[in-house]
């Protein structure tokens, strides 16, 4: 039987047993409800309608006036125009706040103390645009040529290499993925920790290890629980993303394609590394009560990685640079550097290699410790003793 078949069998069992458990279904349901509530509830209460501008027009309204004002405001307002036959009527309406601003037929824009600068500027731009278009038309100039009149026909062209996007925005996106990674590891790391100890507490471990190697058992558990965790994150993420548009106040961080791809790669690698590390921690103990103690150093490492990332969101620094090469910190720090365009390919390559090699070494190490710990009997095992006790 191929090693992969054993690993997949273990993974499938762990996946199936959890996904069909009441506890998992309940916690997934509650999390999704919580996320939905978090997005939908504020959207109900936040008033996201555009402000309405009431604009008085004395005499005939110039062609396309309302549209021009809306365009000049950056489409930040809904424009309503109100016709008046005399300027006096318009002034009265302005005074009683029935309108916000007015134009008369003698080239005046009427305002009062309540008129905003933005509104004033938009109206001024609108009338100017209409006037320019009208005069240009008289001169036989096409509307499309008008823009050239303001630039002399020149346009700016950059010869700098094409930038993949805004670095700051990319960093924000990378950090967002780091936060998701952090939360995933904290949640599913403890699942894996407990899952690994499960066989020992159920005492089923000797039967299972009679058929496969300890590192295969561990790899299977990491895979099964890990895939389940990532599936849960994806499900929650997809639901959240599809609901976010109903809430205008929150922008989904966007990023260039390569930044997105790298963030995904590092998410998977980081999740894999920490999942295996939690499995290794679990292999050292035999009882669930000791699980959190065994995982304490990992939690500290994770916190450190998170803090380095959060303090480096503004840009490159020496601590970030060193951290991005070390496997325990790289998944949370390297994506930031890649997003900021600060990492050179050699650094990325070295970091990737170290990451993958360490993850593999860790699962072999954990397998040995796991088997050794089992045969040493109950209680917490010093890893050196466990390591020596077995060489499978």
């Amino acid at each position: 039987m191929s090693p992969w078949r054993s690993i997949l069998l273990v993974a499938a069992r762990d996946f199936r047993e959890r996904v069909t458990s009441r506890a998992f279904q309940l916690s997934t349901g509650i999390t999704i409800l919580f996320v939905v509530a978090l997005i939908v509830v504020p959207a109900i209460f936040v008033d996201d309608d555009l402000p309405e501008w009431e604009i008085g027009v004395v005499g005939t309204e110039p062609d396309g006036f309302a549209t021009a004002v809306a365009a000049a405001s950056g489409n930040a307002a809904v424009i309503n125009t109100v016709g008046f036959s005399t300027r006096t009527e318009a002034e009265a309406a302005l005074e009683s706040n029935d309108i916000d601003i007015a134009i008369d037929d003698a080239g005046k824009i009427l305002i009062d103390n309540d008129t905003s600068d933005q509104m004033q500027a938009a109206v001024l731009t609108a009338v100017a645009t209409i006037e320019i278009a009208a005069r240009a038309d008289e001169l036989g100039i096409e509307v499309t040529e008008i823009a050239d009149l303001f630039t002399g026909g020149y346009e700016v062209e950059s010869v700098a290499p094409v930038d993949e996007g805004d670095n700051d925005e990319n960093r924000v996106f990378a950090f967002f993925v780091t936060v998701v990674l952090f939360m995933s590891i904290v949640t599913y790391g403890s699942w894996i920790l407990i899952g690994v100890i499960e066989e020992k507490t159920n005492r089923v471990v000797e039967v299972v290890l009679g058929t496969l190697r300890p590192h295969q058992l561990l790899a299977g558990k990491v895979l099964g629980i890990g895939v389940l965790g990532i599936a849960q994150v994806l499900a929650i993420g997809i639901i959240a993303m599809s609901l976010l548009p109903i809430q205008d106040a929150f922008d989904i961080p966007s990023a260039a394609g390569s930044v997105l791809a790298w963030a995904f790669v590092w998410y998977i690698l980081g999740f894999g590394f920490y999942a295996v590390a939690y499995a290794a921690a679990g292999s050292l103990v035999s009882r669930q009560e000791e699980a959190q103690n065994a995982a304490f150093p990992l939690t500290m490492m994770l916190m450190a990685a998170y803090f380095i990332a959060s303090f480096s969101i503004t840009g490159e620094n020496p601590v970030l640079r060193v951290a991005s090469l070390l496997p325990m910190f790289a998944p949370m720090t390297m994506p930031l550097r890649i997003a900021g365009g600060d990492a050179v390919p050699v650094e990325i390559g070295v970091s990737l290699l170290l990451m993958i090699a360490t993850t593999y070494a860790l699962i072999r190490f954990a397998g040995r410790v796991y088997a050794g710990g089992l045969l040493q009997g109950a209680g917490r095992v010093k890893w050196r003793e466990a390591f020596r006790a077995s060489d499978t």
């Binding site: 039987m1 054993s6 069998l9 069992r13 047993e17 458990s21 499960e198 159920n202 005492r203 089923v204 471990v205 000797e206 039967v207 299972v208 290890l209 009679g210 058929t211 496969l212 190697r213 088997a371 089992l374 045969l375 006790a389 077995s390 060489d391 499978t392």
Partner: protein
């Protein structure tokens, strides 16, 4: 055939195995005996590479044991345990698949075993919902699901009620008859004596006695004399001061003798004690053989 060949294993200063060697042929049912800490579990674990011996080898059919050959072995460790929340049929099928069975084979075998154990209606129950006795039967089924060529059971009778013991004995005999090599350890020596023809006894990590029980008993340099009188005598235990008294009560006396002790004087003396109901002269039983070799 399973060959255990000169296994040595030490844990720090503790010698667990000190040249342990024996063979088990297919179709043979072998009792593997020894006091606590004599190395039985370490030997059994060596077969499954759960322990890597410092030296010595374990072979199956003349070749090294690989992960593939190991799939044809079945193991019931002393530390019992399965997945408490997993459904019974799915659990058995899982162990079948771990032993290399295809999904359909494993599911079919799990169904057969549940049928055989009379637990077919509990297929979708979680293991923890079964009684203790039924959980033990599922444990045995998990070790047998793939119809192993070699079956190793560490203390299979511990914790079983008399009915469970009978069931277990029947299964072990049946497996051996169907051609599997079966090795089990036990401290219940009377049971071992009933169940199997051959035993291996180890002490301090090495085999001190091995062979058919009948031969081992005959080969002993001791014999036991059992005397029963029609009426009890208070001084019965002092009637044969030159011999070792094993037990004495209610008109019955058991003496231990060297195997070359002439019997005639004893018969004569016994006749003078009163009316003799029983006078028998036998080799030691398995428990006594065990005690003799282990206490040396």
């Amino acid at each position: 055939m399973l060959e255990i060949d000169r296994l040595h294993k030490t844990y720090g200063d503790v010698v667990a195995l000190d040249g342990c060697s024996f063979n088990v042929a297919r179709g043979q049912l072998l009792g593997f005996l020894g006091p606590n800490g004599s190395g039985k579990t370490t030997t059994m674990r060596s077969v499954f590479s759960l322990v890597r011996p410092d030296s010595g080898t374990v072979r199956w059919n003349g070749g090294d044991i690989t992960p593939e050959t190991r799939l044809r072995f079945g193991y019931m460790p002393e530390q019992r345990g399965l997945y408490p929340r997993m459904k019974v049929a799915a659990q058995l099928a899982y162990f079948g698949r771990l032993h290399g069975m295809s999904k359909s084979e494993a599911v079919a075998a799990a169904g057969d075993w549940l049928e055989r154990l009379g637990l077919a209606d509990r297929a979708d129950s979680r293991l923890e919902q079964l009684s203790h006795g039924n959980q033990q039967r599922i444990q045995l089924a998990a070790a047998l699901i793939h119809d192993p060529d070699l079956l190793i059971l560490d203390e299979p009778f511990s914790g079983l009620d008399p009915l469970g013991v009978e069931d277990m004995m029947a299964v072990l005999v049946e497996r051996a008859e169907r051609g599997a090599a079966v090795v089990f350890s036990s401290h219940q020596l009377d049971l071992v004596e009933d169940l199997c023809e051959d035993v291996v006894i180890i002490a301090a990590g090495k085999v001190v006695l091995a062979g058919p029980i009948r031969e081992l008993r005959a080969r002993s340099t001791h014999r036991y004399l059992d005397l029963e009188l029609a009426t009890d005598r208070a001084d019965l235990h002092r009637a044969f001061p030159e011999y070792e008294v094993v037990s004495s009560d209610d008109g019955r006396l058991r003496l231990r003798l060297d195997d070359d002790t002439p019997l005639e004087p004893l018969i004569h003396s016994a006749a003078q004690l009163g009316r003799v109901r029983q006078f028998s002269y036998t080799p030691p039983n398995l428990s006594e053989v065990f005690r003799e070799v282990v206490e040396q």
